[in-house]
Amino acid sequence: MKKLFITILSLSIITSCSSDLLDVNPEAQKVSSQFYTNSTEIEQGIISVYGSLQYVGQYQLAMPALGELPSDNTYDEVPANDSFTYGELDFFTVQANNSLIASAWKDNYIGIQQANIILTRIGGISDMTDALKASRTGEMKFLRALMYFNLVKIFGDVPLVLKETTNVNDYFGQPRTPAAEVYSAIETDLKEAVSLLPATAAQKGRVTKGAALGILGKVLLTQKKYAESLTYLSQVEPLGYQLLPDAAKIFDVTNENNAEIIFDVQFASGLNGNSEGSTAFQMFSPSGSVSGAKGHNLPTKEVYNLYSTGDTRRSAYIGLTSSGIPFSKKLVKTSNTIADGGSNCVVIRLADVFLMMAECYARQNDAANANIYLNKIKKRAGIAEVNFSAASVLLDEIDRERRLEFVGEGQRWFDLVRTGKAVSVMKNYFANNPGYSTAQIDSHHLLMPVPQGQINTDPAIKQNPGY
């Protein structure tokens, strides 16, 4: 019997003594140290960069809300709901601990880091053609530039990181990079993207040359480099984009990725356990109109009333609830599930390119061309064309046209900031709208506060003035 025990003892000790026993890897999750080794995995990594566009802090909620809610185009119907997160944007009482602001910072950097990883690793992949590598590199540079562009528009100076992170602690002590430097990095990325990207992509929703040209044009316009902007913007239409004759078709969910769309963030309902949809239609629909509606970003009555008679866009872009509350038709309910809206979020479309061109021409006092491009939009809207000669009149008209054309697309606030009209326009708006008697705006509101959490984490990150 003793022998039996000794046998068991020695057996169990021997079998359990090997140190390999302690190397246990997950079986239901991938590990990044063993990833990004072949073209399939690199492609999966690239998809996740696109995937980050769907994050709350990017195009699911933050860009439409931050780009429009502070402006005169939209308002928050139930400001106190969701901890005043959206109401603060509407009333210019934004606090540094606003959760949407925090998401915007974080989610853009997650996407940027994923793009950095791909850009670092893609060169070493052996089973991928150079042509494919080139276009994927272009896609990543475009997306990285787009995210930095959004960050710099929202926050001003932001830390610039263009490398894969190897040690997270390396970033402690890194201050915010001046906006001019960030812009220069954005331009570099976009210019490379323009040269690397194909005119058309095999898959709908992928980045193409047109997207890079359009966004580069907007980046340059934002920096008031009108002539240079025009050189890129003017290359867009020849790639085959067209204004849809019927404005109502642009945002029709059955007609997504149409000829007018240059780049949009893809959402789909009913896919993969409802994980590819957006909550935006619920957050931004009038309270009670759809399940879970919260009315956080509704078109104002003022903008609704601004469309002239016969303007087909009013009914194409804005609906009215039974109680007369305007809502955006650019985001529609495509599913009964609250978090599963299928409307894509448009980043840039041809109408935007035309109006930017009109603006660039007007800024350069080329009224003829400015009128041509402005009228392309007016014509499609079914309203009278114009022929202005004074640049200032033209610019005001373009501004108004942009307001009407892009309502609900997260453009208006950034347009107001870009054109320097934000403070005066909003003061005027507050005066005319009784619900805003307590609202106040001054120049520091042109930038959002840096998330308090980031300042708490690393005091090298300084707050924007005024917050």
Partner: protein, 1094 residues
């Protein structure tokens, strides 16, 4: 130590008592378990080996003979008497009295005879007569309380369970709290956690979420970690259970003894798992002798014990009108509270500035309108019952114990019922003189209901009840459930769009089943005298299945029915197994005693969990995932392995000095590549001063013992794959076609390791006044470093946090236990009791490099700062209410502050109100914990009660913050808020902000302020138990040994200023302790039962 002889173990299990209860009278229950002859074969054998000549006979043999001859039972301490030899040829067995007299004279024994029971103790004065007898002190004996029917003196060594064995308490120098079976009476609950609260020093039990079937949380000596797990290791019959195991899997009825190893020296034998303390549980074992059967059943009712009071419908109408009027008036000029809704709309009012039309009759004070008390609608008195049967017995070679129980608890909150069947089986047999085998199995099967415990206005009925207006009814007049009436009624004015909580509870399915079995098979071989080898294989298997179904016919928050149907299902199987080899040694010579163990173990756990979410249901006819047409599956899996080598040596000299040293080496798969192995050591020493010859004989202070221990151990409750950089799926939909993607979700850290702790424990034990009071005190300092932190990192890295071993925390505390022996207050009237007192203080010494605070929690209320303690509640100090605009203009204020808002203290005097003006108002960790247990006995009546108190803690009440006391006008107002709200006309001295739906920045920031950091000191009568023992004369003829009828009340009263559902409320996250948000309340329970022994 591990190797006490078999008899010692058996005896001690039947009768071991904690120090506290040692002085109490022996319960009938225990008495019933004790019977003679109860000498195991193995021990008898050993004693013969020890005898030098044939003429000397061991005492137990003598007792055996006497017991056979005269039909009496003997009680005695085996370890003290086993070496006593008598020459029984000189003995006269003709009469019991003569025999006992002979032993009195020649063996230095004292006897107490009560009917058929003979209690034996060593006569201390005669101790020197017996050469082999080492000196024992009177502390080892209980003095007799001979005026009660059932009380018995018991001279049994108290034995404590230590890792991989047992030890006599007098030879142990660690800090161990013991709770025995008898102390576990008096609480109606399905788990032992609730039952032991207040019974041991240094142990805090909180029922933060008293959902039937839920586990309370157990904290041993405060919190020493920030982000790793803080649950103690639970070891049942030698098998360490999975971390965070549901305590309900262990049937309290099957437990014989619980020991809690608190100091590092005691728990260091569990190495990398010992840092949060170790709870060792021993289930009931069989004994040599006749079969003992015990049957217990009770039935009780659970009632609300909270003190939350909401306003009635009329006050609610007033409140809503004020909130909406003030919102309307604050947002524009030329407005009047008299404006009707149409006028308001024309003046630009938004939805929340309008007055719901249904309020009109309430505002007009029409009598007899609907006025639903929703808290009393979602909480109903509910029954709780338990029945258990326990059978033990055995022969000289085989022993058995069998417990089976059925527990049924209906939820105090509707729709949260729980039911459990559990069994525990213990079998052991001596195959030969030296070879023993045994098996322990504990299967249980439970069904319960998941109740959303936190922030959910769609599913948590308690939270829904605080946002459901009294103007609506749960049922229609025809008795059917009212569906979405509040949502539809409130849509026009955007009030609280909450579904009827009764409908949600009744119409959704939230049921789980949990099957769990764990156990051990062991074999033990005595290789030579004092040297044993034990091999055991243990397993812990859990199978869980949860089905959730929400039909379209009931709505959800902000979504009226019909909405979308969906279902999900979670299944997991967890397998844990353990192989253990332990060699133990135990020898005694002259005054020396050495016992030692050397062991090795290997444990592995596998878990895989599948979550299936189903959508696109064509209808509601199939109430599970099978009814869906679109599915998403998520598989989560983990595995860990732990390979360990351990050893411990105990040395005792002359019952005066004892030394212990232990060492363990653990290798864990959880740790990073560069840090797989860790070493843990411990050392302790004890000095029984009162056994020294210089210690004066006196009746005041006796049994004085000093203890010191030092040890290190670890906390390995860190993520299974925390060292690796993991990837998560992150897909995209190109043109509505799914494209699979993966994103790097966590930053890698190959150096990740366990958290290390090092503790020093100083202890003193002594008895006062002829052992009337036994006092035990401990002071400890527990330093932890290498704390695992999810360190916030600059997000431009692409990551928000990184898991790193960084940070230091110091815990120190004092523990005092005063236990009285059973003493007589009057004829037939006795008392015994114990008082526990614990303090704990923690201090954060370091966080990550460059990090000096962690700010987290709802509204960032919790701040953990270097130099402070864990999770302090930070906020503004509210000085009063702004009553005029001039007051606002004339003082520092947050942008957007309005009349009726709060005046905040400008703490740093910089003329601005911002985060720098927040200060600490305390934390959710109590400074003092007090437990007071009392047992009174008068004739056949027994009365026991336990008071439990926590002092110096705060609760951050999110229900008050977001609804009850916010004054926002969205959810319900509490009566307290309503009575104390500021209203310039009707209540100018109110200290709560004016009702206003224009929720200003001031109000938002005031969410973290002294208004909502509530004092939560309390004293609670946790249990009150009154029992009546049926007289023996009645029972004798019907074959019942004992019968008791009892009444138990739990939580009968709670003295506290706190207004909330559950004063134990806390979050699982140690950083946000004291956070309360509609946690499941603890019930007041009235129950009755009876107990029979055959």
């Amino acid at each position: 130590m591990g190797v006490t002889d078999a008899l010692d173990i058996n005896q001690s299990i039947t009768t071991n008592f904690s120090k506290a209860m040692k002085k109490t009278t022996i319960s009938m229950m225990l008495l019933g378990l004790l019977c003679v002859p109860q000498f195991s074969h193995a021990t008898a054998k050993k004693c013969f080996q020890q005898s030098v000549t044939g003429r000397k006979t061991p005492l137990n043999k003598v007792f055996e003979k006497l017991s056979k001859q005269y039909g009496v039972q003997f009680f005695y301490s085996v370890s003290d008497l086993k070496e006593v030899m008598v020459d029984d040829s000189q003995m006269n067995y003709r009469s019991l009295k003569e025999s006992l007299d002979y032993l009195k004279k020649n063996a230095g024994l004292d006897f107490n005879v009560d009917r058929n029971t003979v209690t034996v103790r060593l006569n201390p004065k005669a101790g020197s007569k017996i050469q082999t007898l080492s000196r024992t002190t009177s502390a080892d004996y209980l003095s007799m309380v001979n005026d009660t029917v059932k009380s018995r003196e018991k001279a049994i060594d108290e034995v404590v369970l230590v890792g991989y064995g047992k030890q006599s308490r007098k030879n142990n120098s660690g800090s161990i709290s013991s709770i025995d079976e008898k102390q576990m009476k008096g609480i109606a609950s399905g788990n032992f956690g609730d039952i032991i609260a207040g019974k041991a020093t240094g142990v805090q039990i909180t029922q933060a979420n008293a959902n039937p079937g839920g586990s309370p949380s157990i904290r041993v000596r405060g919190i020493g970690t920030l982000t790793a797990g803080s649950n103690p290791l639970i070891v049942v019959d030698g098998l360490p259970l999975t971390e965070g195991s549901n305590l309900n899997a262990i049937d309290p009825n099957s437990i014989a003894k619980i020991d809690i190893l608190k100091d590092a020296a005691s728990s260091a034998i569990y190495g990398s798992r010992g840092a949060n303390g170790v709870i060792i549980i021993e289930t009931k074992q069989g004994k040599n002798g006749k079969m003992n059967v015990s049957f217990d059943t009770y039935y009780g009712m659970q009632m609300r014990s909270d003190n939350v009071k909401l306003v009635n419908a009329y006050d609610m109408a007033t409140f809503l009108k004020e909130a909406r009027d003030n919102n309307y008036l604050s947002k524009g000029s030329n407005r009047s509270a008299l404006d009707d809704n149409a006028t308001r709309v024309s003046k630009g009012a938004s939805l929340r500035e309008l007055i719901p039309t249904y309020l009109a009759p309430y505002l007009a004070k029409q009598p007899g309108l609907t006025d639903t008390d929703w808290l009393n609608t979602v909480m109903k008195p509910a029954p709780i019952s338990q029945t258990s049967l326990n059978i033990t017995g055995g022969s000289s070679t085989s022993k058995y114990a069998f417990t089976t129980s059925y527990f049924n608890q209906k939820g105090l909150v509707i729709g949260t019922d729980y039911e459990k069947f559990s069994t525990s089986i213990n079998l052991s047999t001596d195959l030969t003189d030296r070879w023993k085998v045994g098996i322990t199995m504990t299967p249980s099967y439970a069904t319960g209901t998941i109740n959303a415990s936190n922030n959910s206005r769609s599913y948590n009925p308690l939270q829904m009840a605080t946002a459901t207006y009294p103007f609506f009814k749960p049922y229609n007049n025809d008795g059917s459930l009212a569906i979405s009436q509040q949502i539809l009624g409130n849509t026009a004015t955007d009030g609280a769009l909450v579904e009827n909580p009764v409908a949600v509870q009744e119409m959704t399915d939230r049921k789980y089943t949990l099957f769990k079995t764990f156990g051990n098979i062991f074999t033990e071989l005595e290789l030579m005298k004092g040297l044993k080898y034990r091999f055991s294989v243990g397993g812990d298997y859990t199978n869980y299945e949860y089905n959730f179904f929400d039909p379209s016919t009931v709505g959800a928050y902000r979504a009226a029915a019909p909405d979308v149907t969906f279902a999900n299902r979670t299944e997991y199987i967890r397998k844990n197994y353990l192989i253990e080899n332990v060699v133990s040694f135990d020898r005694k010579w002259d005054a020396h005693r050495v016992d030692a163990i050397l062991g090795q173990s290997f444990q592995q756990e596998d878990n895989s969990q599948l979550l299936t979410e189903a959508t696109s249901f064509p209808d509601n006819s199939i109430r599970n995932i099978a009814g869906g047409t679109a599915f998403k599956n998520t598989l989560t899996q983990y595995k860990w392995r732990l390979l360990s080598y351990f050893s411990r040596v105990n040395y005792t000299y002359d019952n005066k000095y004892n030394l212990m040293a232990s060492f363990r080496r653990d290798g864990s798969s959880r740790f990073g590549k560069n840090s797989k192995w860790g070493d843990f050591y411990a050392f302790s020493a004890g000095w029984t001063v009162s056994n020294e010859s210089f210690f004066p004989e006196n009746n005041t202070v006796t049994d004085l013992k000093l203890r010191y221990s030092l040890g290190s151990n670890g906390n390995n409750q860190i993520p299974n794959f925390g060292a690796l950089s993991l990837m998560n799926p992150d897909n995209y939909a190109f043109g509505n076609t799914l494209a699979p993607g993966y994103t790097t979700a966590t930053a890698p850290n190959p150096n990740i390791s366990w958290e290390k702790s090092r503790s020093n424990n100083f202890g003193i034990d002594f008895s006062l006044f002829r052992n009337v009071l036994n006092i035990s005190a401990d002071y400890y300092i527990l330093n932890r470093d290498g704390l695992l932190l999810d360190v916030p990192v600059p997000q431009q890295s692409g990551f928000s946090t990184s898991l790193q071993n960084i940070g230091k925390i110091k815990n120190s505390g004092f523990e005092l236990q005063i236990a009285s022996k059973t003493f007589s207050l009057a004829n037939n009237f006795t008392y015994s009791g114990s008082l526990n007192f614990s303090t704990n203080k923690n201090e954060v010494l370091a966080l990550a490099n460059g990090q000096n605070q962690i700010i987290t929690g709802e509204n960032n209320f919790s701040v953990t700062k270097v130099g402070g303690s864990i999770g302090e509640m930070y906020g503004y100090n509210i000085l009063g209410i702004y009553k005029t605009q001039a007051e606002i203009n004339g003082s520092p204020h947050i942008t957007g502050t309005m009349v009726g808002d709060y005046i905040m203290e400008d703490l740093n005097g910089d003329g601005k109100i911002n985060v720098d003006d927040k200060r600490s108002f305390g934390s959710g960790v109590p400074k003092y914990i007090i437990g007071f247990n009392n047992n009174l006995r008068y004739g056949l009546f027994e009365l026991s009660f336990t008071l439990y108190s926590e002092i110096g803690k705060k609760i951050y009440n999110a229900d008050a913050v977001t609804t009850l006391e916010s004054g926002e006008g969205f959810g319900m107002a509490s009566q307290y808020y309503f009575d104390n709200r500021y209203n310039a006309a009707t209540n100018p001295d109110g200290f709560f902000g004016m009702p206003n739906m224009n929720f200003s920045n001031n109000r938002k920031e005031a969410r973290t302020s002294n208004l909502y950091f509530k004092d939560a000191d309390y004293v609670r009568l946790r249990s009150l138990r009154l029992a009546f023992n049926l007289p023996q004369s009645m029972l004798k003829n019907i074959g019942i040994e004992n019968a008791q009828i009892y009444m138990v009340g739990n939580n009968l009263f709670t003295l506290s200023k706190y207004r909330g559902m559950n004063i134990d409320a806390t979050s699982d996250n140690v950083l946000t302790q004291g956070f309360d948000q509609a946690y499941y309340p603890v019930a007041r329970i009235y129950s009755m039962g009876f107990n029979l022994k055959f």
